[in-house]
């Protein structure tokens, strides 16, 4: 059987937050969700964007860590920060091109998605991919992906002059080999005169447990 891969396809995201709930139940995440779910343009759309760690081949977060606390294991997983080493500086939070690491002030440590290492290291699916109803987050072989989906999985991203390759794949239209991360075409809609993007249509919902009891 060919190698198991992680495919993200935010276009399919329906914003159900099942991934966040599942993520918080993973043993290595200790009750905290490592998934970020962003609302794209709250005022005009319900579109959401799930963000997991892309597990870069040359992780910027690890390079800028002064304490050498972020390690990439032989299987290509960029692990969460090592508890004894992380000194809570947030360099990784600010440097990651995908905006993934999160600093938790109460424990003075950065935590991030480790692709549910307690599960994937044993051949199981990550929690988020196992519960995602729309397969915006999909874990399986390339053959499985191709047998049920269209599009080209790509793991090459261009951030200005910097090319980043990752273990996780983003689904692009057939034939596209990489994604040029453009900013100017997507300046925040809140700056538009008629935008009301600052309103959170989901604000009335009870927030998900984020591990206060742990």
């Amino acid at each position: 059987m060919s190698e198991m891969r992680f495919f993200v396809d935010p276009v399919r995201c329906i914003g159900c937050k099942a991934c966040m709930q599942g993520c918080s139940e993973c043993a290595t995440h200790r009750g905290k969700s490592m998934i970020h779910l962003e609302y794209i343009e709250r005022g005009t759309s319900t579109q959401t964007a799930p963000m997991v760690c892309m597990h870069c081949d040359l992780p910027t977060c690890a390079a800028v860590c002064p304490a050498d606390a972020i390690k990439r294991t032989e299987d290509g997983i960029v692990q969460s920060s090592q508890a004894p080493r992380c000194i809570g500086c947030s360099n990784c939070v600010n440097a990651c091109p995908f905006g993934v690491p999160r600093y938790y002030p109460e424990i003075d440590q950065m935590l991030k998605c480790d692709m549910c290492y307690d599960r994937t290291s044993l051949g199981k699916k990550p929690m988020c991919a196992s519960v995602c109803p729309s397969e915006a987050l999909f874990y399986g072989t390339l053959e499985e992906f191709q047998s049920r989906r269209q599009g080209t999985p790509s793991n090459t991203f261009q951030f200005g002059a910097q090319t980043i390759t990752t273990k996780v794949f983003l689904v692009l239209p057939a034939g596209d080999v990489g994604l040029n991360m453009d900013v100017l075409s997507h300046m925040d809609a809140r700056f538009e005169p008629d935008a009301f993007d600052h309103l959170d249509p989901f604000a009335h919902l009870e927030p998900l447990p984020m591990g206060e009891h742990l």
Partner: protein, 372 residues
Amino acid sequence: MLKPSGAALPPRHDPDPVMVPVMDVTLDRRGLIAGVVFSLLLTLAVYLGSQRFHGFDGALAGYCFATVFALFGVVYRYAVWLQRPATRVYWKRGWELFWQPGQRLRNTLLFFKMGWEKMLEQRFIRKRSRDRWLAHQLIFWGCVIAILITFPLTFGWLRFESDFTHPSNYLVVLFGQRLEFFTFPARGVIGWLFMHGLNIAAVLCLAGISLAVGRRVKDEAEISTQRFDNDIMPLVLLFAVSVTGMMLTVSNMFLEGKFYYWITTTHAVTVMLWLLYLPFGKFFHIFQRIANVGVWFYKAAGANGPQAECARCGEAYTSAMQREDLKAILPDLGFDYRNNEQAVDNWQNLCPGCRRKLMTLNQFRVTGKEFM
């Protein structure tokens, strides 16, 4: 109030490495010099503190040599570690902010306050997990007690002698000075505490090790991420040191000194292995952890100055000092996030939230689909 620094740090200057004769390896020049200087200073302190080796216990010489070598290793690795671009920034900025004129007394007091919270009380570990904190505190204080007793003993700085006027009493001899004012009955409570100080330390360590091993055996997260050399080896070494150390007392008190020579040799070997592991393994985090206090100063100063706003959404998300320092070190690390677009000339000028959204926005852009 701590103020952030806007001055650019001086450019890096890396001295040539030192070739090791015969062996095909090089050593870092700064690390080598710092390691040799600190080791020589410790050797000098041993020489003077033991009154030119008069008070030095030859039976403990092996421990002393291993400690000097461990100090060399720790200082060497620390010096090399400080040369990592990000570490260098925090080291330089940390001292720069700490020594701000008018703030030094306040900063010194804050240093001790943060030192207590972060180094001794280890409050952040308690927030992570009480079990983990308890195990860590037991091991930490066990090691601290053991080090406070054994290092002065092996360096010849401290020994105990009989009080001539009351032969059943002991007194402390520190740096060759008989502390006549502090005599205590050898078989009293204080005497028992002194004589069994290392046993108390060993019991604390063994209790902590038991809790730590229990967690490492049961916790799925630990099982999946732990490595033998990094996570199990330190516990094995501490266990070996504690058990062989307590066996000395067992042999002395209950076995009429049987196997004593064999046990002393085994104990010496385990302690030396622990000392030699100190610079290379997990225990190095003891020295790295001090940087946590420096980071606290850096963050506090950054919060009092201008904030970096996201080039896309305009939200402030970090201190301007940290963003500029980060952008300055990225080229040294082989990353170039500069952009030709004037409005956003560097990807690093975006907040993490916008970076996350932009992946989806760009996916929509290339697929030509519309939002839900």
